[in-house]
């Protein structure tokens, strides 16, 4: 495959044409924070955590393909500030009560707040009144903890092929829905596979019967599954 030369954090790197900036950075061991990205699923640039500076312009590294001569900066004060503000907005938009959450200590959002050094949320909390749906026999979706990363939507369509999950509404009214907005328990296409549970980065989609801090997820299972299918 044709290789392209780019400069990433001052270092000249050759990578196959068609690679994304995130892929190249990960191959080089350069850390870029991500949230909606998961190896094995398509990228949508939804959460905006993986932003980088390309020739002075801020772009999402998971959806931007490399181009010859590109100058990429993965971390500086401006990027750190933008990422932290973005993270604060995500926290402020829903009700993330870590202390009461089944995913406490096993949450990608909680980890990111530590990694990025988020001291507090400066933007006012929205504290929206949101529902949860426990009609499925095995699983629960709690909209209070959903960050709209869309991993459930993608895993259900791309890996399971069931197309149960979708997103309805716009902006702060956006919600993940099952089928055309029916209760999850009435979603006839759901195969009960639980892949959406494993890839959900927070405590939004969880197994029933878990108490605080008991929900441990394994998104890497989906990555492995995808790799094995490709190698067969």
């Amino acid at each position: 495959m044709k290789e392209i030369l780019i400069r990433i954090d001052g270092k000249e790197v050759a990578a196959p044409a068609g690679s994304t900036i995130l892929e190249v950075a990960q191959q080089q061991g350069i850390p870029i924070p991500t949230l909606c990205h998961l190896d094995g699923l398509s990228d949508i640039g939804g959460c905006r955590m993986c932003i980088v500076d390309v020739d002075g312009k801020i772009v999402t590294s998971c959806t931007t393909k490399i181009a010859a001569g590109m100058e990429v900066i993965t971390n500086n004060d401006r990027l750190a500030e933008l990422r932290r503000l973005n993270l604060e907005l995500i926290f402020a938009e829903r009700n993330h009560v870590c202390s009461m959450c089944v995913s406490n200590n096993h949450c990608e959002l909680q980890d990111l707040a530590c990694d990025l050094g988020m001291q507090n949320v400066e933007v006012p909390y929205a504290y929206p009144r949101l529902s949860l749906d426990a009609t499925h026999p095995k699983f629960i979706i709690d909209h209070n903890r959903c960050i709209l990363c869309g991993r459930c939507v993608r895993v259900c369509a791309e890996i399971e092929g069931a197309h149960v999950w979708g997103i309805a509404g716009r902006g702060s009214e956006a919600r993940v829905i099952t089928e055309l907005g029916v209760d999850w328990g009435d979603a006839e296409k759901c195969t009960d596979c639980g892949k959406c549970v494993e890839v959900c980065p927070t405590g939004a989609i969880v197994e029933k019967g878990k108490a605080t801090a008991e929900m441990v997820k394994h998104p890497e299972l989906v990555t492995t599954l995808k790799e094995r299918r490709e190698n067969d």
Binding site: V97, S99, N104, N105, Q110, C114, N120
Partner: protein, 177 residues
Amino acid sequence: MTKVRVATVWFSGCAGCHMSFLDLDELMIDLADRIEIVKSPVVDTKEFPANVDVTLIEGAIGNEEHVELVREIRKRSKIVIALGDCAVTGNVPAMRNGIPVNELLEEVYGKERTTTGTIPNEVVPRLEDRVCPVHEVIPVDYFLHGCPPPAAVIGKALLALLDGKVPELTGRELKFG
């Protein structure tokens, strides 16, 4: 040596952060030589004193008394620390946000729940419409995360301040929950 004047207050919270503070164990003995607790739920002083060096605030702002007192605390304290998730984020007390206060009081104290159905509106302070973290009412200098913050984190922050340094908390020391 003049002792550093430290106060702790308890707003909408469960006292767990104060329990964690007491969990400082033997560090408490070292601290006792350097600090004086001038106001705290465990000290019998009614009024919040003047000229406090460091005030640790546990709990979210949930009623009109909290709002009034926290403003007074800011005026009388050099350094204000939000102690724990309720003070930093609103946490559990803020889970009532979105429910109109009159509906909430009716649900808890109304005729359906109690024999008299009397809503308490005398002596006790009026609830705010919305519970909020401390920094939405007054400027806060430092934030100690956790429900409760581990004693080691509280100790690290206090020792840094006593040495005239900025508390440098990183990684898991910043974990909520």
